[in-house]
């Protein structure tokens, strides 16, 4: 264990790594809360997605961004981003199919001030949250893994 931590030249000290490991889960949970309650409290898909991306980026900064398997991680981030925007389009087209117009609020409104209310707004919030989180993590990994060619 100790050998392992000493060998990793990239990244910050052990204290930073431990604190980041503990905090990242909580930050991500907070982001999920913000996304889920976007229609009741301040926040929503954009804010929550940014916070979720922040939790991943905290881990990257603490452990050092190695270029090793960044391609695979970038692929996952791209997948999240694409799935998010695809889900948003699906919800929009469902309104056209089952309702009257594009982005029609097809689900039941429910009782106000409850978690399951407001029709498509929570669904769209989740889709946007996934998209924004994937997008920002993808941008960060791309910047961390960029290698410049040597100039002559």
């Amino acid at each position: 264990m100790q050998n392992n931590t000493q060998n990793t030249s990239s990244g910050m000290s052990l204290i930073v790594k431990t604190v980041a490991r503990i905090l990242a889960g909580m930050i991500m949970l907070y982001g999920i809360y913000i996304v889920a309650h976007g229609h009741l409290t301040p926040g929503g898909g954009f804010a929550g997605g940014v916070i979720i991306a922040g939790s991943f980026i905290l881990l990257y900064l603490a452990y050092g961004a190695t270029a090793a398997d960044s391609d695979k991680r970038k692929w996952y981030a791209s997948l999240c981003e694409s799935l998010g925007i695809f889900g948003f389009w699906i919800v929009a087209i469902l309104g056209l199919v089952f309702g009257t117009y594009f982005l029609f609020n097809i689900f039941a409104k429910g009782t106000p001030f409850h978690l399951f209310s407001a029709g498509i707004i929570p669904v769209c919030n989740v889709a946007i949250g996934v998209e924004v989180a994937g997008a920002l993590v993808g941008i960060f990994i791309t910047f961390a893994a960029v290698k410049l060619l040597e100039r002559k």
Binding site: L40, P42, V50, V132, L136, T142, F143, V146
Partner: protein, 111 residues
């Protein structure tokens, strides 16, 4: 009205950076300052005196600030990060190719 003028002054400072500065990163910083000035102006336009945040309406006798400019700015902030990353990536690649961030020298090397 002074609030609006201060916001426009911030916009003009960013414009000065874009027009006069010769370093690519200074130009990017100028663009970001213009972006912030726009957000500030939108938020200032929607403010209402003695109003509260537009959460949980339906309570009688409550005054809310205008939610429409806030909704416009909310999406624009995240888009701003995406475009900033795109410009910064282009600047990194330009530096890699030309070895300088000075836009005059980049023009000379182009021919």
């Amino acid at each position: 009205m002074i609030h609006y003028l201060l916001g426009i002054l911030l916009f003009v400072i960013g414009l000065y950076g874009v027009l006069v500065k010769r370093n690519l990163f200074k130009i990017i910083i100028g663009l970001i300052i213009m972006e912030y000035a726009t957000f500030l102006l939108f938020a200032l336009v929607g403010f209402r005196e003695h109003g509260t945040a537009p959460i949980q309406p339906g309570v009688a006798g409550k005054v809310f600030v205008d939610p429409l400019p806030q909704a416009l700015v909310l999406t624009a902030i995240v888009i701003g990060l995406g475009t900033t990353a795109l410009i910064a990536g282009l600047a990194v690649r330009i530096y890699e190719k030309y070895g300088t961030l000075d836009i005059r020298k980049i023009k000379k090397l182009k021919g």
